[in-house]
């Protein structure tokens, strides 16, 4: 297992996987990311990051049922592992803490 810090894109990815629940496979993740972030996300990048997340132990995967569409190839479905969920929660609480420290005054001035 490599280092366990969570990059911004990795975090988005984990969230997407969590949100998609049972339907989290590469193409769906890619679409979802495009839709919600407005970035153009390339499939190759999604694959690479999924691979990294799996190495870090944040997600696990298994092959699904065969379908006619994908040229007869099965999909690989991803789901969060316990460390993955923990990492997401950690990231959220860290952000929350920081948000809480910003006095409302600062925003008004801007």
């Amino acid at each position: 297992m490599k280092g366990t810090n969570l990059g911004e894109f990795e975090e988005l990815m984990l969230l997407t996987i969590a949100a998609l629940m049972e339907e989290a496979y590469s193409v769906a993740i890619c679409d979802e990311l495009v839709q919600h972030t407005g970035r153009s996300v390339k499939l190759g990048v999604v694959h690479a990051v999924l691979h990294r997340l799996e190495e870090k132990g944040f997600v696990e995967s298994q092959l699904g049922e065969s379908t006619k569409t994908r040229g007869g190839k099965r999909k690989r479905f991803y789901q969060l592992t316990i460390p993955g969920k923990a990492a997401l929660v950690r990231a959220k609480s860290m952000r929350d803490q920081l948000w809480d420290r910003i006095p409302s005054l600062v925003w008004k001035k801007a």
């Binding site: 193409v27 190759g44 694959h47 690479a48 040229g71 190839k73 690989r76």
Partner: protein
Amino acid sequence: MSVRQPTHDSDRDNHPQPPRWAQRFVEWYCKPQLAEDLLGDLHEYFERNVESIGSRRAKLIYIIDAFKFFRPYTVRAPKFIKLFINWIMIGSYIKTSGRNLMRNKLFSFINIVGLAVSMSVGLLLIAFVLDLYSYDKFHENGDRIYRITNAVASNGVQNGKFGTTSIKTGKLIREKMTGVEEVAILRSDFSQDAKVGDNVVPIKGFWAEPSLFRIFTFPMLEGNPATALNDPYSIVLTETAAKKLFGNGSALGKAIKFDTLDYQVTGVMKDVPFFSHIHFEALVSFATAEKINKNDQRFEAWENMYSNYVYLLLPENADKVSIQSQLDAIAREENRAEERTKIQLELLPLDEIVVGEELRRPMGPTGPHMPPVVVWILGGLAFVVILCACFNYSNLSMARAMRRFKEVGLRKAIGAGKSQIRYQFLAEAIIISLAALLLSYAIFLLLRPQLINIAPEMQHMVKLELTPSMVVAFIVFSIAVGMVAGFMPALFFSKVSAINALRNVSSVKVFQHVMVKRTLVVIQYTVTLIFITATAVGYVQYKNILAFDLGFKTENILNINMQGNNPDVLLKELGEMPEVTALSRSLIITSIGNAWGGYMKSEDSRDSVLVLTNHVDENYLPLHEHKLAAGGNFKARPTTANAATEVIVNEQVLKRLNIGAGDPEKAIGEEITFNSFQVHGRKMTIVGVMKDFHYGRVENLIEPVAFMFWTPGDRAVINAKIQSTDMVGTLAKIESVWKKTDRIHPFQAEFYDKAIEAAYSEFSAMVKIIGFLSFLAISIASMGLFGMVVFTTETRLKEISIRKIMGATSGSLVFLLSRDFLLLLATAALIALPATYVFFEKVVLTNFPYHTPVQIAELFVGLLVVLLIAFIMIGSQTIKAARSNPAEVLKSE
């Protein structure tokens, strides 16, 4: 899991599919556990793209993505990592190989010596080729330097391609062409005596433009390279030349006298490296040549292209097509004004000057050149010899199978896989070939001086000194040889079944591969026979060339090069020597490849004809015993070239110019017109007709020749007929006479026969090389055969003993044992002899119009030698076996 496409007919018919090869590509590089997922995704996207942007672009995107997925984490571990793990086993392989070597001393000896001997040829060749390809690598802009070549056609006949070109070409390129960074004209044949005080030293070099230093990398030690060659009468010396002239003091700024003119030393440069196609001691500013030839209109003439070289430096990424079309334009423009000569200009890259197309007039006599085809032929021959040694190794290793089956069987039984057995045998072969490399390097050191001295040109061409790249090449070569040699044994032993090998060794069919082995023996002997017969035929043909009847006599004629001196004094002194029976003067020595010539026309001939010439005095014809068909010797004794109006021609001239209607007598007194570089339209009278003789080399047809009268303006060669029982003493005497004429230049004289021999040195070199290779081939084949015979007789010893007890005679046993081998040799002879015969008659000797046909005797001499050696090999062993005591042999069972 299946990664194949489902084949729904409806799908295939009207639905676009992603490109198949891209899918295969992903399957090939991708880790199997990721492949399905990846391909699925690619497919899904593809389907989408087909809907949205059409199938063409969808396919393109699919391909791009297939390449994009080529990332470190998707790519499966390459095979060599697995191989590497196997190489860790090498320690164990070395141990077992070592033990094996020790156990079978005879076979190890044959293998190592055989490989080493043949590998030494490979090493020589590698060193030779690496040397050839290391030429001109020291120029920083080497890949951008080009020479201009001229393809010349005169009167519509191609005269060949020249490495030289006219001065005009260089100037036109500088004026008219775009996209050329630098142009430099180099004029050859600066060869004069330099005088500094009392010190006189002959200096050879070139006339060069200042831009030469901007094109080539010739570092300057003293002086400014940018300006050194600007002014007339300035000279740049190399370090060595400067030392010769000025000792250890600085040469810069000092004066040198050439003839009567003072030249100033404006630079001293580092010596030209050995591996340079241009060699010189000094460069004289081109402005000097222009000044000296100011009144010569032909100096810059378009067709005066025989002694100048033009080099270009092109910018990076130069547009060669545009350069060529500009060159074509220049040539077109200039050719328009020429009637007879049409010249085409071409670019020749620097790295194709030494190893490349054969050009006429390469840089001076020492300019090294090697046509790639020679390298290929030598390489092919060396390859064949090495392959023979590899065959030996394969054969002997497989013949020893019986002894090694148990070892292999045991290895397999305790878990070795096929590939491990393969690696073991490969490793063993490689270890042996590395051991052979050490020995072969020693042989290489012994052979190196032989190769360098095989022909005079070689000494100027290669050094064959060890360089780091050579060491690497040697080791790689040795490993490659090991792999080739070990390939078949590895394959053979990996197939052995463990159960059979361990249960009962004799149940394994050792001679399953008997066909392979026989084929190898036949191939080996065929090659050996071809080599040997080729040597015999080649040698005989070479001797025939030397003894060829040129049409005149060359025996005991010493040709003394006057080197620019007046021949009169020497002629007088020599005339007084009792050993010298006759003397004559000539311009050149014919029949060794030299040629002068011009165009001749008669009233009856439509076109002018190229006629080869020599200028000779009245004594030349009798001295060389030229036979006259009609007429006589020169009558007039003109003292200037312009006054010479008599000409003696050979019969070919009459035929080509249509003079005298086949009767030489009628030709006497006829007038012809002669044109050459020095002579324009001179009328000359035929005073004699010679029988045809070989002016060129024997591979040329007999050509029209004309002799004019030698006049003092010509360079001179003195031809002295010598009658002496003490040649060495006579030569020493002549040399001391020479010293009176010229104290500076060493005496240059050569017997005519020796000169002819030297002219054909490339043939003698080829015969020597092939002879040497055939010696190797026969030694290797003999060693291999010997090993095989030893093995066969050993394995059949029991059979022989039983036969003996049953009453077989020694003679019949010898016949029984050697019959097989004799059959193989006969097969080899049946292939080799006709092949050699056809090769020489149809390929080699067609280049020699006057050759003697290949004699059957020459072919059979080779066969006899090979058979004799093979008989000794087979005979000694079979007789030993036949004489063995059956009681001793059978007792052991």
